[in-house]
Structures are given as structure tokens and as C-alpha cells.
Amino acid sequence: MEQGTRIEIQVNGEARSAARGTSVDAFVAELGLRPEVVAIEVNDRLVRRDERGRTMLSDGDRIEVVTLVGGG
């Protein structure tokens, strides 16, 4: 019997799912975000801009997607 094709992840504290084998890059696009204005953590570790393409999401990952907002 074959394994599921989707993974369950947490994004900014909310439960989401993604296709197995999705890269961070692809996932950011999927979320409809502009890649140049966000930064990504996976499991409390920064995934640098240049690592996004080669970093694949895994089942159970905790993902933080942040951007810059007004602040003092």
C-alpha cells in the first residue's frame, strides 16, 4: 500500500500541508509571497536566501515566515 504524497507542516503556528518534496523556494511561491521581502526559518534555524532552492520541507517541520514591518 503506497505512502501519502503530502506532508503536514506548521507555518507561523498554523497547520498546513504541502506536496512531499517541496523546496522552501517553491513553498514561498505557493504562499503567494514575494521572496525578496521575506525570511524563512525551518525548525528555529534560518534558511538563507541561497539555501532555499536546495532545502526541502519534511513532514512535521515548523516554519517561520517573516517580513519587515513598521517599528521603532
Binding site: V11, N12, G13, E14, L31, G32, L33, R34, E36, V37, V38, A39, I40, E41, D44, L46, R48, R49, E64, V65, V66, T67, L68, V69, G70, G71, G72
Partner: protein, 277 residues
């Protein structure tokens, strides 16, 4: 400081520039971007303030909102140095992660470090601040560190490699101005990196007073953004910063208990009453 062009026309205003780490700042006023009604108002207030360095915060993207305009679309990076802060972090680890995230977005090493002690006073936690400063310096950040006005704490932060010490004049958003000018004065004697008064500024004279004490700059946000007329206050803060800086450089008159006539005391016309000594 106003632009060099201006100085060419006003040589008596000559002043050195403010340098933090590798960054040269053309204005001694640093301005936050929080609490404005709109991105447009933010951009206009920044322009009027004459600032060269604007602070921003790092926050989670709202996944439900359609991908709308970003604050970054309204801050011309060829015109402003962007200073990300770690506001809202209550421990060293969160602050360090936040600084790393900001650096990844901006590609710059400047960070305004805040490690807060509690949500009620938003006063900085000295232990977390010392820890995060050490770590971020090790990671190659140019750390501008928000701290209390404790002068020896400022010395310790400089020893750990901070590029600027940023004492609170009074609690964040309290609008009480410089509660302890004496502490700022001593801090200025003890450290060599730029001292930028951060937090507590409520109105123009607060900025002037900070600069007259010899502070190298002032950072503010609420004082402009929450004023009844933010654009007008932006202009007021701009002028107060140059006024205070120039007054500091000009060398003020000493204070006396009383009287020192500004008109000549001789050559008076004959009088019926003689002045009482």
C-alpha cells in the same frame, strides 16, 4: 546633521559626521516606522524629518492576507539606511534569531538589539542584552544596543563590541524625555562609541536637550507618529536635533543665580533714583 551642501553655505555649522561601525549617517536623527496611519504618511514623515536611518521590525507574514504592498516598497534604500530592530524579544535567543532573519532580508549587518525584561515597562533585560550582544558581535553584526542609562552597563556593552550604545532617556513610548541627564553625561564620558538616545522622547525640546548633553544622535518613533500632526512634528524634531547639536558645539553660557546685564551699564541718562546695589 543637515546636508553638506547646506554647510557649504553655512560654514559656521561645520560638524563631523556620525559614524556607526562602517555606516556614515548624514543626520543625527534616527526615526522609527511604527504606528503611522499609512505607508504614505510614513514615507512623508521620514522625508520631512531629514533622517538618514530608519528602524523597522521583524514580524510573521500574515498568510491570510493577499500579498499586498510591503513597507520596503515605501522606503527608498538608496536614500535611507534601514536599521532592523529586535523589538518584542524577551530573551537573547529570540533576539539573535530575529537579527539573523532581518539580515537575510536586507543583506546588511547593522542591527538595533533590544532584549526586553517585561511587557509592562519594556525596559531592557541587562543579562539577555549582554549575552545577545556578545553573540551577534561574534556573528559579525554591527550591534547598536538598546540599554538602560546605567553608565557602567554601557561600558560593558562597548567592551563586548557594540558599535553604538543606545540608552533610554525614559521608558519606550512614555514621552518623558531625558529623566536622568546626569547619567547620560557620565555615559558620554565613559564610552567612546556613539551614544544615541533611544526611547522616551516626547517632544522637540527632549531631542534638543539630549543633543545639548553631547549625545551623538537621537532615535524616536512614537513622538512623531502619535503626535496630533505627525508631519509637523517630524519637522519639529528635525529642527530640534540640529538646534541641540549646534548649541552643544557652540558652547552655551554658564548658569548663574542671577543677573548679568545685556545692555551697557554705563552711559545711563541722569536719574532721580539711583539703582540699589
Amino acid at each position: 546633521m543637515a546636508s553638506t551642501t547646506l554647510h557649504a553655505s553655512e560654514p559656521w555649522l561645520a560638524d563631523e559626521q556620525l559614524v556607526v561601525g562602517d555606516t556614515v549617517l548624514h543626520s543625527r536623527l534616527l526615526v522609527g516606522t511604527g504606528k503611522y496611519k499609512s505607508f504614505e504618511e510614513t514615507a512623508q514623515a521620514l522625508a520631512i524629518s531629514g533622517t538618514h536611518c530608519v528602524t523597522v521590525a521583524v514580524r510573521r507574514v500574515n498568510l491570510d492576507a493577499k500579498s499586498g504592498p510591503s513597507l520596503l516598497d515605501h522606503i527608498d534604500r538608496s536614500r535611507y539606511v534601514i536599521l532592523p530592530n529586535t523589538a518584542g524579544c524577551f530573551d537573547a535567543k529570540s533576539a539573535i534569531r530575529t537579527a539573523e532573519l532581518a539580515r537575510d532580508v536586507l543583506g546588511t549587518k547593522l542591527v538595533k538589539l533590544e532584549v526586553l525584561g517585561d511587557a509592562k515597562t519594556l525596559l531592557p533585560d541587562p543579562i539577555g542584552t549582554l549575552e545577545a550582544t556578545r553573540e551577534l558581535v561574534a556573528q559579525g553584526f554591527d550591534v547598536m544596543v538598546y540599554t538602560s542609562d546605567d553608565p557602567r552597563l554601557g561600558v560593558r556593552l562597548q567592551e563586548l563590541g557594540a558599535k553604538s550604545v543606545m540608552p533610554a532617556g525614559s521608558p519606550i513610548g512614555s514621552g518623558q524625555g531625558i529623566l536622568n541627564p546626569n547619567a547620560i553625561r557620565i555615559l558620554l564620558e565613559l564610552v567612546t562609541v556613539p551614544v544615541i538616545v533611544d526611547a522616551g522622547v516626547g517632544t522637540a525640546s527632549d531631542v534638543a536637550i539630549a543633543m545639548e548633553l553631547g549625545a551623538h544622535g537621537v532615535l524616536l518613533n512614537t513622538g512623531i507618529a502619535s503626535a496630533r500632526e505627525p508631519l509637523r512634528m517630524a519637522a519639529a524634531m528635525r529642527d530640534a536635533c540640529t538646534a541641540g547639536r549646534q548649541a552643544f558645539l557652540a558652547g552655551r553660557i554658564p548658569k548663574r543665580l542671577y543677573a548679568n546685564a545685556s545692555s551697557p551699564t554705563d552711559g545711563l541718562i541722569s536719574s532721580h533714583e539711583k539703582p540699589r546695589a
